[in-house]
Point group: C2
Chain length 270, copies 2
Protein backbone atom coordinates (compact mmCIF):
# COMPACT_ATOMS: atom_id res chain seq x y z
CA UNK A 1 0.00 0.00 0.00
CA UNK A 2 1.43 3.40 -0.99
CA UNK A 3 1.63 6.27 1.46
CA UNK A 4 -1.30 8.03 -0.25
CA UNK A 5 -3.55 4.95 0.07
CA UNK A 6 -2.49 4.62 3.66
CA UNK A 7 -3.11 8.28 4.54
CA UNK A 8 -6.58 8.43 2.94
CA UNK A 9 -7.86 5.13 4.29
CA UNK A 10 -10.37 5.71 7.08
CA UNK A 11 -11.92 2.69 8.82
CA UNK A 12 -15.65 2.08 9.18
CA UNK A 13 -16.55 2.46 12.84
CA UNK A 14 -20.29 1.89 12.81
CA UNK A 15 -23.62 3.40 11.93
CA UNK A 16 -24.90 6.62 13.48
CA UNK A 17 -28.45 6.98 14.81
CA UNK A 18 -29.51 8.65 11.58
CA UNK A 19 -28.28 5.70 9.49
CA UNK A 20 -25.07 7.32 8.25
CA UNK A 21 -21.96 5.17 8.13
CA UNK A 22 -19.13 6.57 10.24
CA UNK A 23 -15.50 6.23 9.17
CA UNK A 24 -12.73 7.32 11.52
CA UNK A 25 -9.09 8.09 10.94
CA UNK A 26 -6.53 10.81 11.12
CA UNK A 27 -5.74 13.74 8.84
CA UNK A 28 -2.03 13.01 8.51
CA UNK A 29 0.21 16.03 9.09
CA UNK A 30 2.48 15.17 6.15
CA UNK A 31 -0.02 16.21 3.44
CA UNK A 32 -0.23 19.86 4.43
CA UNK A 33 0.54 23.17 2.82
CA UNK A 34 1.58 25.56 5.61
CA UNK A 35 -0.28 23.55 8.24
CA UNK A 36 -3.53 22.76 6.41
CA UNK A 37 -4.20 19.56 4.46
CA UNK A 38 -4.33 19.93 0.67
CA UNK A 39 -7.93 20.22 -0.57
CA UNK A 40 -7.71 17.36 -3.05
CA UNK A 41 -6.25 15.16 -0.33
CA UNK A 42 -9.25 15.94 1.92
CA UNK A 43 -11.59 15.14 -0.97
CA UNK A 44 -9.79 11.82 -1.50
CA UNK A 45 -10.37 10.88 2.16
CA UNK A 46 -14.09 11.54 1.74
CA UNK A 47 -14.26 9.79 -1.63
CA UNK A 48 -12.55 6.66 -0.35
CA UNK A 49 -15.05 6.31 2.50
CA UNK A 50 -17.99 7.01 0.17
CA UNK A 51 -16.65 4.50 -2.38
CA UNK A 52 -16.33 1.90 0.36
CA UNK A 53 -19.94 2.52 1.37
CA UNK A 54 -21.31 2.11 -2.16
CA UNK A 55 -18.80 -0.44 -3.49
CA UNK A 56 -17.59 1.48 -6.57
CA UNK A 57 -15.17 4.30 -7.40
CA UNK A 58 -15.99 8.01 -7.89
CA UNK A 59 -17.32 9.21 -11.25
CA UNK A 60 -18.40 12.82 -10.51
CA UNK A 61 -17.68 14.31 -7.13
CA UNK A 62 -18.06 17.81 -5.68
CA UNK A 63 -16.68 19.25 -2.44
CA UNK A 64 -17.55 22.54 -0.79
CA UNK A 65 -14.78 23.75 1.51
CA UNK A 66 -15.94 25.05 4.87
CA UNK A 67 -12.87 25.23 7.11
CA UNK A 68 -9.15 24.39 6.91
CA UNK A 69 -8.28 20.73 7.46
CA UNK A 70 -5.85 20.69 10.33
CA UNK A 71 -3.98 17.47 11.16
CA UNK A 72 -5.54 15.21 13.77
CA UNK A 73 -8.39 12.80 14.39
CA UNK A 74 -11.30 13.12 11.97
CA UNK A 75 -14.40 11.29 10.83
CA UNK A 76 -16.32 10.90 7.59
CA UNK A 77 -20.08 10.45 7.86
CA UNK A 78 -21.46 8.85 4.70
CA UNK A 79 -25.08 8.93 3.65
CA UNK A 80 -25.93 6.60 0.73
CA UNK A 81 -28.53 8.53 -1.25
CA UNK A 82 -29.26 5.92 -3.90
CA UNK A 83 -27.59 2.68 -5.00
CA UNK A 84 -28.69 1.64 -8.47
CA UNK A 85 -27.50 -1.15 -10.70
CA UNK A 86 -24.71 0.86 -12.29
CA UNK A 87 -24.59 4.25 -10.49
CA UNK A 88 -24.68 5.07 -6.79
CA UNK A 89 -25.00 8.52 -5.23
CA UNK A 90 -23.71 9.41 -1.77
CA UNK A 91 -22.94 12.43 0.31
CA UNK A 92 -20.46 12.91 3.09
CA UNK A 93 -19.40 15.18 5.89
CA UNK A 94 -15.71 15.34 6.87
CA UNK A 95 -15.40 16.55 10.45
CA UNK A 96 -12.31 17.29 12.51
CA UNK A 97 -11.85 18.30 16.13
CA UNK A 98 -12.97 21.89 15.33
CA UNK A 99 -16.08 20.95 13.34
CA UNK A 100 -17.00 20.33 9.72
CA UNK A 101 -14.22 20.74 7.12
CA UNK A 102 -15.85 19.76 3.81
CA UNK A 103 -19.26 18.69 2.55
CA UNK A 104 -19.21 16.30 -0.39
CA UNK A 105 -21.72 14.99 -2.94
CA UNK A 106 -20.86 12.41 -5.57
CA UNK A 107 -21.98 9.75 -7.99
CA UNK A 108 -19.98 6.53 -8.12
CA UNK A 109 -19.64 3.93 -10.86
CA UNK A 110 -17.08 1.68 -12.48
CA UNK A 111 -15.76 3.08 -15.75
CA UNK A 112 -17.33 1.37 -18.73
CA UNK A 113 -14.40 0.48 -21.01
CA UNK A 114 -14.39 2.14 -24.42
CA UNK A 115 -14.49 -1.27 -26.09
CA UNK A 116 -18.00 -1.75 -24.70
CA UNK A 117 -19.27 1.56 -26.00
CA UNK A 118 -21.62 1.35 -28.93
CA UNK A 119 -20.32 4.61 -30.35
CA UNK A 120 -16.67 5.56 -30.93
CA UNK A 121 -14.90 8.10 -28.71
CA UNK A 122 -14.79 11.66 -30.06
CA UNK A 123 -12.17 13.92 -28.50
CA UNK A 124 -11.67 17.55 -29.62
CA UNK A 125 -8.49 18.11 -27.58
CA UNK A 126 -4.96 16.79 -27.05
CA UNK A 127 -2.72 16.38 -24.02
CA UNK A 128 -0.36 19.27 -23.28
CA UNK A 129 3.05 19.14 -24.94
CA UNK A 130 5.59 18.85 -22.14
CA UNK A 131 9.37 18.52 -22.16
CA UNK A 132 10.67 15.55 -20.14
CA UNK A 133 10.37 16.12 -16.40
CA UNK A 134 14.13 16.67 -16.16
CA UNK A 135 13.77 19.72 -18.41
CA UNK A 136 10.80 21.10 -16.44
CA UNK A 137 10.77 23.06 -13.17
CA UNK A 138 10.09 21.13 -9.97
CA UNK A 139 7.13 22.76 -8.20
CA UNK A 140 7.02 23.01 -4.43
CA UNK A 141 4.59 24.90 -2.22
CA UNK A 142 6.46 27.97 -0.97
CA UNK A 143 6.31 27.46 2.79
CA UNK A 144 9.13 25.54 4.45
CA UNK A 145 6.67 23.72 6.67
CA UNK A 146 4.65 22.06 3.86
CA UNK A 147 4.78 18.29 3.61
CA UNK A 148 2.57 18.09 0.52
CA UNK A 149 5.39 19.02 -1.86
CA UNK A 150 7.35 15.99 -0.63
CA UNK A 151 4.44 13.54 -0.98
CA UNK A 152 3.76 14.46 -4.61
CA UNK A 153 6.18 15.30 -7.39
CA UNK A 154 5.19 18.01 -9.85
CA UNK A 155 7.23 19.49 -12.71
CA UNK A 156 5.90 22.54 -14.53
CA UNK A 157 6.51 23.43 -18.16
CA UNK A 158 9.38 25.96 -18.16
CA UNK A 159 7.14 28.49 -19.95
CA UNK A 160 4.62 28.32 -17.09
CA UNK A 161 6.98 28.32 -14.09
CA UNK A 162 8.27 31.90 -14.15
CA UNK A 163 5.92 33.08 -11.41
CA UNK A 164 8.16 31.29 -8.92
CA UNK A 165 10.91 33.78 -9.66
CA UNK A 166 8.72 36.85 -10.12
CA UNK A 167 8.19 36.49 -13.88
CA UNK A 168 4.54 35.48 -14.45
CA UNK A 169 3.88 34.29 -18.00
CA UNK A 170 0.86 36.57 -18.42
CA UNK A 171 -1.45 33.64 -19.23
CA UNK A 172 -3.46 31.93 -16.50
CA UNK A 173 -2.20 28.46 -17.42
CA UNK A 174 0.09 25.90 -15.76
CA UNK A 175 1.03 22.68 -17.56
CA UNK A 176 3.05 19.98 -15.88
CA UNK A 177 3.74 16.42 -14.81
CA UNK A 178 2.25 14.88 -11.67
CA UNK A 179 3.03 11.71 -9.78
CA UNK A 180 3.24 10.50 -6.21
CA UNK A 181 6.77 10.72 -4.80
CA UNK A 182 6.73 7.00 -3.98
CA UNK A 183 5.50 6.31 -7.55
CA UNK A 184 2.31 4.66 -6.24
CA UNK A 185 0.00 4.05 -9.25
CA UNK A 186 -2.61 6.79 -9.67
CA UNK A 187 -6.19 5.54 -9.40
CA UNK A 188 -9.50 7.44 -9.27
CA UNK A 189 -8.64 8.71 -5.78
CA UNK A 190 -5.18 9.84 -6.84
CA UNK A 191 -6.80 11.84 -9.63
CA UNK A 192 -8.68 13.85 -7.00
CA UNK A 193 -5.38 14.94 -5.45
CA UNK A 194 -3.78 15.71 -8.81
CA UNK A 195 -6.77 17.91 -9.66
CA UNK A 196 -5.93 20.29 -6.80
CA UNK A 197 -2.17 19.89 -6.44
CA UNK A 198 -0.62 22.58 -8.65
CA UNK A 199 -0.23 26.25 -7.75
CA UNK A 200 -3.19 28.52 -8.55
CA UNK A 201 -3.01 29.50 -12.24
CA UNK A 202 -3.62 33.15 -11.39
CA UNK A 203 -0.03 33.25 -10.15
CA UNK A 204 0.85 33.61 -13.83
CA UNK A 205 -1.18 36.81 -14.22
CA UNK A 206 0.67 40.01 -13.32
CA UNK A 207 -1.20 42.08 -10.75
CA UNK A 208 -2.68 39.19 -8.77
CA UNK A 209 -1.03 38.49 -5.42
CA UNK A 210 0.95 35.24 -5.17
CA UNK A 211 -0.70 33.93 -2.02
CA UNK A 212 -3.19 31.26 -0.98
CA UNK A 213 -6.34 31.28 -3.17
CA UNK A 214 -9.03 29.54 -1.10
CA UNK A 215 -11.11 26.97 -2.98
CA UNK A 216 -14.84 27.34 -2.44
CA UNK A 217 -15.89 24.38 -4.54
CA UNK A 218 -14.13 21.65 -6.50
CA UNK A 219 -15.75 19.20 -8.92
CA UNK A 220 -13.86 16.32 -10.53
CA UNK A 221 -15.18 14.06 -13.30
CA UNK A 222 -13.25 10.79 -13.57
CA UNK A 223 -13.37 9.93 -17.27
CA UNK A 224 -11.12 6.85 -17.66
CA UNK A 225 -9.03 4.43 -15.59
CA UNK A 226 -5.46 5.82 -15.69
CA UNK A 227 -2.68 3.70 -17.19
CA UNK A 228 0.48 3.46 -15.06
CA UNK A 229 2.90 6.39 -15.13
CA UNK A 230 2.88 10.11 -14.40
CA UNK A 231 0.01 12.34 -15.50
CA UNK A 232 0.24 15.20 -17.98
CA UNK A 233 -1.84 18.05 -16.60
CA UNK A 234 -3.14 21.36 -17.89
CA UNK A 235 -4.75 23.92 -15.60
CA UNK A 236 -6.15 27.22 -16.80
CA UNK A 237 -8.59 30.02 -16.03
CA UNK A 238 -10.43 32.28 -18.43
CA UNK A 239 -12.63 34.32 -16.12
CA UNK A 240 -11.05 36.24 -13.25
CA UNK A 241 -13.73 38.66 -12.20
CA UNK A 242 -15.72 39.92 -9.22
CA UNK A 243 -13.08 38.59 -6.82
CA UNK A 244 -13.24 34.98 -8.06
CA UNK A 245 -11.82 32.70 -10.70
CA UNK A 246 -12.58 29.27 -12.04
CA UNK A 247 -9.70 26.86 -12.57
CA UNK A 248 -10.22 24.10 -15.13
CA UNK A 249 -8.03 21.03 -15.09
CA UNK A 250 -7.40 18.29 -17.63
CA UNK A 251 -5.48 15.21 -16.53
CA UNK A 252 -4.09 12.84 -19.17
CA UNK A 253 -2.41 9.49 -18.60
CA UNK A 254 0.77 8.07 -20.16
CA UNK A 255 -1.16 6.64 -23.13
CA UNK A 256 -2.60 10.07 -24.05
CA UNK A 257 -6.09 9.31 -22.70
CA UNK A 258 -8.05 11.94 -20.79
CA UNK A 259 -8.56 10.48 -17.33
CA UNK A 260 -10.17 13.39 -15.45
CA UNK A 261 -11.53 16.89 -15.80
CA UNK A 262 -11.80 19.27 -12.89
CA UNK A 263 -13.18 22.70 -12.22
CA UNK A 264 -12.97 24.73 -9.07
CA UNK A 265 -14.27 28.13 -8.02
CA UNK A 266 -11.76 29.99 -5.85
CA UNK A 267 -11.26 33.40 -4.32
CA UNK A 268 -8.70 35.77 -5.78
CA UNK A 269 -6.50 36.67 -2.80
CA UNK A 270 -6.32 40.34 -1.87
CA UNK B 1 -44.03 37.93 -10.79
CA UNK B 2 -43.10 36.07 -13.99
CA UNK B 3 -44.27 32.56 -14.68
CA UNK B 4 -40.79 31.17 -13.96
CA UNK B 5 -40.65 32.85 -10.53
CA UNK B 6 -44.13 31.59 -9.84
CA UNK B 7 -43.41 27.99 -10.90
CA UNK B 8 -40.18 27.69 -8.89
CA UNK B 9 -41.45 29.31 -5.69
CA UNK B 10 -42.02 26.71 -3.01
CA UNK B 11 -43.37 27.81 0.38
CA UNK B 12 -41.75 27.06 3.72
CA UNK B 13 -43.98 24.62 5.58
CA UNK B 14 -42.02 24.02 8.75
CA UNK B 15 -39.02 22.28 10.24
CA UNK B 16 -38.57 18.51 10.17
CA UNK B 17 -37.49 16.54 13.26
CA UNK B 18 -33.91 16.52 12.02
CA UNK B 19 -33.84 20.32 11.76
CA UNK B 20 -34.22 20.55 8.00
CA UNK B 21 -36.49 23.26 6.63
CA UNK B 22 -39.32 21.88 4.53
CA UNK B 23 -40.62 23.74 1.48
CA UNK B 24 -43.68 22.46 -0.35
CA UNK B 25 -45.07 23.16 -3.79
CA UNK B 26 -45.85 21.61 -7.10
CA UNK B 27 -43.70 20.62 -10.04
CA UNK B 28 -45.73 22.44 -12.68
CA UNK B 29 -46.58 20.34 -15.73
CA UNK B 30 -45.80 23.20 -18.16
CA UNK B 31 -42.00 23.01 -17.75
CA UNK B 32 -41.58 19.47 -19.08
CA UNK B 33 -39.83 17.83 -21.97
CA UNK B 34 -41.89 14.79 -22.95
CA UNK B 35 -43.46 14.54 -19.51
CA UNK B 36 -40.44 15.17 -17.26
CA UNK B 37 -39.49 18.56 -15.86
CA UNK B 38 -36.36 20.18 -17.35
CA UNK B 39 -33.29 19.54 -15.16
CA UNK B 40 -32.32 23.19 -14.80
CA UNK B 41 -35.89 24.01 -13.79
CA UNK B 42 -35.73 21.37 -11.02
CA UNK B 43 -32.40 22.81 -9.88
CA UNK B 44 -33.96 26.29 -9.78
CA UNK B 45 -36.74 25.02 -7.49
CA UNK B 46 -34.13 23.64 -5.09
CA UNK B 47 -31.93 26.72 -5.32
CA UNK B 48 -34.78 29.09 -4.58
CA UNK B 49 -35.70 27.20 -1.40
CA UNK B 50 -32.03 26.98 -0.35
CA UNK B 51 -31.53 30.70 -1.06
CA UNK B 52 -34.59 31.50 1.04
CA UNK B 53 -33.15 29.45 3.90
CA UNK B 54 -29.76 31.19 3.86
CA UNK B 55 -30.87 34.64 2.71
CA UNK B 56 -28.62 35.00 -0.35
CA UNK B 57 -28.51 33.85 -3.99
CA UNK B 58 -26.62 30.86 -5.41
CA UNK B 59 -22.91 31.21 -6.23
CA UNK B 60 -21.84 27.60 -6.96
CA UNK B 61 -24.44 24.86 -7.03
CA UNK B 62 -24.33 21.18 -7.97
CA UNK B 63 -27.21 18.77 -8.57
CA UNK B 64 -27.05 15.01 -8.96
CA UNK B 65 -30.05 13.64 -10.86
CA UNK B 66 -31.63 10.54 -9.37
CA UNK B 67 -35.03 10.13 -11.01
CA UNK B 68 -37.20 11.98 -13.55
CA UNK B 69 -39.17 14.94 -12.17
CA UNK B 70 -42.78 14.19 -12.95
CA UNK B 71 -45.39 16.92 -12.44
CA UNK B 72 -47.20 16.96 -9.12
CA UNK B 73 -46.77 17.79 -5.44
CA UNK B 74 -43.17 17.92 -4.26
CA UNK B 75 -41.07 19.11 -1.34
CA UNK B 76 -37.61 20.52 -0.86
CA UNK B 77 -35.82 19.66 2.40
CA UNK B 78 -33.06 22.19 3.10
CA UNK B 79 -30.18 21.61 5.48
CA UNK B 80 -28.13 24.73 6.22
CA UNK B 81 -24.57 23.43 6.52
CA UNK B 82 -22.85 26.68 7.43
CA UNK B 83 -23.87 30.33 7.39
CA UNK B 84 -20.86 32.63 7.47
CA UNK B 85 -20.58 36.38 7.14
CA UNK B 86 -20.37 36.36 3.35
CA UNK B 87 -20.85 32.74 2.20
CA UNK B 88 -23.43 30.17 3.24
CA UNK B 89 -23.47 26.49 2.29
CA UNK B 90 -26.61 24.38 2.14
CA UNK B 91 -27.78 21.09 0.78
CA UNK B 92 -31.20 19.99 -0.36
CA UNK B 93 -33.32 17.03 -1.29
CA UNK B 94 -36.10 17.46 -3.85
CA UNK B 95 -38.70 14.76 -3.39
CA UNK B 96 -41.82 13.99 -5.39
CA UNK B 97 -44.58 11.44 -4.92
CA UNK B 98 -42.33 8.62 -6.17
CA UNK B 99 -39.29 9.50 -4.03
CA UNK B 100 -36.15 11.60 -4.36
CA UNK B 101 -35.58 13.40 -7.67
CA UNK B 102 -32.38 15.40 -7.15
CA UNK B 103 -29.79 15.92 -4.42
CA UNK B 104 -28.23 19.37 -4.35
CA UNK B 105 -25.22 21.01 -2.68
CA UNK B 106 -24.41 24.70 -3.01
CA UNK B 107 -22.67 27.77 -1.69
CA UNK B 108 -24.62 31.00 -1.65
CA UNK B 109 -23.43 34.62 -1.60
CA UNK B 110 -24.26 38.01 -3.03
CA UNK B 111 -22.07 38.93 -6.00
CA UNK B 112 -19.36 41.37 -5.03
CA UNK B 113 -19.45 44.07 -7.70
CA UNK B 114 -16.32 44.48 -9.79
CA UNK B 115 -15.97 48.05 -8.55
CA UNK B 116 -15.26 46.70 -5.08
CA UNK B 117 -12.57 44.32 -6.25
CA UNK B 118 -9.04 45.33 -5.45
CA UNK B 119 -7.75 43.76 -8.65
CA UNK B 120 -9.06 44.34 -12.18
CA UNK B 121 -11.04 41.69 -14.04
CA UNK B 122 -9.02 39.55 -16.45
CA UNK B 123 -11.06 37.66 -19.07
CA UNK B 124 -9.43 35.45 -21.71
CA UNK B 125 -12.64 34.86 -23.70
CA UNK B 126 -15.41 36.67 -25.57
CA UNK B 127 -19.14 36.11 -25.98
CA UNK B 128 -20.21 34.07 -28.99
CA UNK B 129 -20.87 36.00 -32.20
CA UNK B 130 -24.55 35.55 -32.97
CA UNK B 131 -26.76 36.90 -35.74
CA UNK B 132 -29.92 38.65 -34.48
CA UNK B 133 -32.48 36.19 -33.14
CA UNK B 134 -34.61 36.70 -36.23
CA UNK B 135 -31.80 35.28 -38.36
CA UNK B 136 -31.25 32.30 -36.02
CA UNK B 137 -33.20 29.03 -35.79
CA UNK B 138 -35.85 28.76 -33.09
CA UNK B 139 -35.10 25.69 -30.98
CA UNK B 140 -37.89 23.52 -29.61
CA UNK B 141 -37.69 20.15 -27.88
CA UNK B 142 -38.82 17.55 -30.42
CA UNK B 143 -41.79 16.04 -28.61
CA UNK B 144 -45.22 17.54 -29.24
CA UNK B 145 -46.08 17.18 -25.57
CA UNK B 146 -43.27 19.39 -24.22
CA UNK B 147 -44.22 22.60 -22.47
CA UNK B 148 -40.64 23.71 -21.81
CA UNK B 149 -40.11 24.99 -25.34
CA UNK B 150 -43.04 27.37 -24.87
CA UNK B 151 -41.84 28.70 -21.50
CA UNK B 152 -38.38 29.62 -22.78
CA UNK B 153 -37.34 31.05 -26.14
CA UNK B 154 -34.10 29.83 -27.67
CA UNK B 155 -32.61 30.68 -31.05
CA UNK B 156 -29.57 28.75 -32.25
CA UNK B 157 -26.83 30.05 -34.54
CA UNK B 158 -27.72 28.82 -38.06
CA UNK B 159 -24.34 27.05 -38.29
CA UNK B 160 -25.19 24.98 -35.17
CA UNK B 161 -28.82 24.13 -35.88
CA UNK B 162 -28.47 21.63 -38.73
CA UNK B 163 -28.94 18.60 -36.50
CA UNK B 164 -32.64 19.42 -36.38
CA UNK B 165 -32.89 18.58 -40.07
CA UNK B 166 -30.42 15.67 -40.11
CA UNK B 167 -27.32 17.75 -40.92
CA UNK B 168 -25.12 17.82 -37.77
CA UNK B 169 -22.34 20.40 -37.98
CA UNK B 170 -19.67 17.90 -36.95
CA UNK B 171 -18.60 20.03 -33.97
CA UNK B 172 -20.08 19.46 -30.52
CA UNK B 173 -21.06 23.11 -30.07
CA UNK B 174 -24.37 24.98 -29.92
CA UNK B 175 -24.44 28.78 -29.69
CA UNK B 176 -27.65 30.69 -29.24
CA UNK B 177 -29.90 33.24 -27.59
CA UNK B 178 -31.94 32.45 -24.46
CA UNK B 179 -34.76 34.29 -22.74
CA UNK B 180 -37.98 33.51 -20.95
CA UNK B 181 -40.99 33.62 -23.25
CA UNK B 182 -42.68 36.21 -21.05
CA UNK B 183 -39.43 38.25 -21.07
CA UNK B 184 -39.14 38.01 -17.28
CA UNK B 185 -35.68 39.35 -16.28
CA UNK B 186 -33.10 36.61 -15.81
CA UNK B 187 -31.66 36.46 -12.31
CA UNK B 188 -29.36 33.89 -10.66
CA UNK B 189 -32.18 31.34 -10.67
CA UNK B 190 -32.97 31.95 -14.32
CA UNK B 191 -29.31 31.29 -15.13
CA UNK B 192 -29.71 27.77 -13.71
CA UNK B 193 -32.45 27.05 -16.24
CA UNK B 194 -30.54 28.60 -19.14
CA UNK B 195 -27.56 26.38 -18.26
CA UNK B 196 -29.57 23.24 -19.05
CA UNK B 197 -32.07 24.46 -21.64
CA UNK B 198 -30.46 23.85 -25.04
CA UNK B 199 -30.31 20.52 -26.89
CA UNK B 200 -27.37 18.24 -26.03
CA UNK B 201 -24.33 19.38 -28.04
CA UNK B 202 -23.59 15.81 -29.12
CA UNK B 203 -26.56 16.13 -31.50
CA UNK B 204 -24.08 17.97 -33.72
CA UNK B 205 -21.71 14.99 -33.94
CA UNK B 206 -22.52 12.48 -36.67
CA UNK B 207 -22.86 8.94 -35.31
CA UNK B 208 -24.40 9.85 -31.95
CA UNK B 209 -28.12 9.16 -31.62
CA UNK B 210 -30.36 12.24 -31.42
CA UNK B 211 -32.27 11.22 -28.30
CA UNK B 212 -32.45 12.15 -24.62
CA UNK B 213 -28.98 12.35 -23.01
CA UNK B 214 -29.59 11.93 -19.27
CA UNK B 215 -27.70 14.39 -17.04
CA UNK B 216 -25.92 12.74 -14.13
CA UNK B 217 -24.56 15.90 -12.58
CA UNK B 218 -24.80 19.64 -13.29
CA UNK B 219 -22.72 22.38 -11.67
CA UNK B 220 -23.36 26.07 -12.27
CA UNK B 221 -21.13 28.94 -11.14
CA UNK B 222 -22.93 32.28 -11.07
CA UNK B 223 -20.23 34.84 -11.91
CA UNK B 224 -22.09 38.18 -12.22
CA UNK B 225 -25.56 39.68 -11.84
CA UNK B 226 -27.11 39.62 -15.35
CA UNK B 227 -28.11 42.91 -16.97
CA UNK B 228 -31.61 42.94 -18.52
CA UNK B 229 -32.07 41.28 -21.91
CA UNK B 230 -31.55 37.90 -23.53
CA UNK B 231 -28.43 35.82 -22.84
CA UNK B 232 -25.84 34.84 -25.41
CA UNK B 233 -24.91 31.21 -24.73
CA UNK B 234 -22.23 28.82 -25.91
CA UNK B 235 -22.36 25.11 -25.11
CA UNK B 236 -19.69 22.65 -26.15
CA UNK B 237 -18.11 19.29 -25.39
CA UNK B 238 -14.56 18.16 -26.04
CA UNK B 239 -14.54 14.69 -24.50
CA UNK B 240 -17.09 12.13 -25.63
CA UNK B 241 -15.70 8.84 -24.39
CA UNK B 242 -16.53 5.74 -22.38
CA UNK B 243 -20.25 6.35 -22.85
CA UNK B 244 -20.25 9.86 -21.35
CA UNK B 245 -19.65 13.47 -22.28
CA UNK B 246 -19.17 16.72 -20.44
CA UNK B 247 -21.08 19.76 -21.63
CA UNK B 248 -19.60 23.15 -20.78
CA UNK B 249 -21.75 26.27 -20.90
CA UNK B 250 -20.92 29.96 -20.93
CA UNK B 251 -23.74 32.44 -20.43
CA UNK B 252 -23.15 36.11 -21.29
CA UNK B 253 -25.49 39.03 -20.66
CA UNK B 254 -26.48 41.87 -22.98
CA UNK B 255 -23.51 43.99 -21.87
CA UNK B 256 -20.99 41.26 -22.84
CA UNK B 257 -20.30 40.20 -19.26
CA UNK B 258 -19.92 36.52 -18.36
CA UNK B 259 -22.75 35.80 -15.93
CA UNK B 260 -22.47 32.02 -15.48
CA UNK B 261 -20.42 28.97 -16.33
CA UNK B 262 -21.84 25.49 -16.26
CA UNK B 263 -20.59 21.96 -16.70
CA UNK B 264 -22.58 18.77 -16.72
CA UNK B 265 -21.69 15.11 -17.06
CA UNK B 266 -24.23 13.21 -19.13
CA UNK B 267 -24.72 9.81 -20.69
CA UNK B 268 -24.35 9.36 -24.44
CA UNK B 269 -27.63 7.73 -25.50
CA UNK B 270 -27.39 4.33 -27.15
Amino acid sequence: MGEFDDATHFVVAGTANDGRLTYTGEIAPEWDIAGNANGGFLLAIAARAMADAVGRPPLSITAHYLAPGRPGPAEVLVDVVRAGRRMATAQAVVRGADGEIIRVLGTFAEQRPATEAEVPAVVHAAPPELPPAGECVRMQPPADNSGFGDRVAMWAHPDDAGFGVGRPSGTATIRGWFEFSDAQPIDAFGLLVAADAFAPVIFNVAGFPVSWAPTLELTVHVRSVPAPGPLRCRFSSRFMLNGMFEEDGELWDSTGTLVAQSRQLALIPR
